[in-house]
């Protein structure tokens, strides 16, 4: 099903802040098997110039993707979520996410395309801290597979 093109450029209001906890970062780092001390040891993080433990680069995805749910779950858009796969993912960082951050996400629909029967949705998620400083932008490309030809 073709998606509603009038959604291109649409922005959604900033989400309520997500507070980044040290133990959540530790849980994520352990889940990906990454034992870099900057993720778990505040002293090691400070030695690298960070005020507290930092999160692995892809940690922020789940926060951004949850915010993008405002877009993908909007019934007016017409996205068949059962057919959605993650196509591309990009991050552009101003600084790493760190413990104590209160992050708010603003999502925008950047583009809607149809290619070879698939709907392609580009969502931009801008992540800011409590002082409204930019932390990271996540660009999420979702592909909704069209019906099989046969």
């Amino acid at each position: 099903m073709a998606l509603d093109q009038s959604f291109v450029g649409r922005s959604y209001p900033p989400t309520d802040p997500y507070e980044v906890g040290r133990e959540k970062i530790r849980e994520f780092a352990e889940a990906v098997g990454d034992f870099h001390p900057a993720y778990t040891d505040p002293e090691a993080a400070r030695a690298l110039g960070h005020p507290d433990v930092i999160a692995p680069p892809t940690f922020v995805f789940s926060i951004a993707f949850k915010a993008a749910g405002q877009v993908t779950g909007d019934p007016q858009l017409g996205l068949d979520y059962n057919q959605v796969v993650h196509g591309d993912q990009k991050f552009a960082y101003t600084r790493p996410v760190r413990a104590g951050d209160r992050l708010s996400v603003t999502t925008t629909i950047e583009a809607i395309k149809t290619m070879a029967g698939n709907d392609i949705l580009d969502v931009r998620a801008e992540v800011h801290d409590e002082a409204d400083g930019h932390v990271v932008t996540a660009l999420i490309k979702l592909v909704a597979r069209g019906p099989e030809e046969d």
Binding site: V32, K90, F91
Partner: protein, 142 residues
């Protein structure tokens, strides 16, 4: 930020130490919990087969998280990653045994940029197939 690699010490073609990551089913369950992505294609093979997959597959974001470790381990400071992007080209298929799947990741410096930054291009394969495409990171060196 305090990367331990100096810009003056790298050139286009400098290879980063390659790494191999093992993915078993329990790893995927742990990642599902930590990331909040509970899509059953990552833990339920009956469901995965019903939607046309050969077996349970790893989360794309799990593969993305593993691949960048080649870069962050090289840098010394994971906070020196400025940009990171990938395309998910093929799934990492994870059988229900104690061996699981392996992801082989390589990376090399592809371009020298301004302000002591470099672009690193990554490759990631599993079972001989390229699982990430256009995998690139821009990093801040000392």
């Amino acid at each position: 930020m305090a990367a331990q690699v100096k810009y003056s010490e790298v050139e286009v073609g400098t290879e980063l130490p390659a790494q191999t990551f093992t993915v078993t089913r329990d790893v995927l369950v742990r990642y599902a919990g930590a990331s909040g992505d509970f899509n059953p294609i990552h833990w339920n093979e009956k469901f995965a087969r019903e939607v046309g997959l050969p077996d349970v597959i790893a989360h794309g974001m799990f593969t993305m998280a593993e691949a960048i470790r080649v870069v962050t381990d090289w840098l010394g400071d994971p906070g020196a990653v400025v940009e990171y992007g990938v395309r998910f080209t093929k799934p990492v298929v994870v059988p229900n045994d104690d061996k699981g799947a392996t992801i082989e990741v390589g990376a090399k410096v592809a371009a020298l940029l301004d302000d002591n930054r470099v672009r690193v291009d990554l490759t990631a394969t599993s079972d001989g197939k390229k699982v990430l495409g256009m995998a690139r990171a821009v990093v801040q060196l000392a």
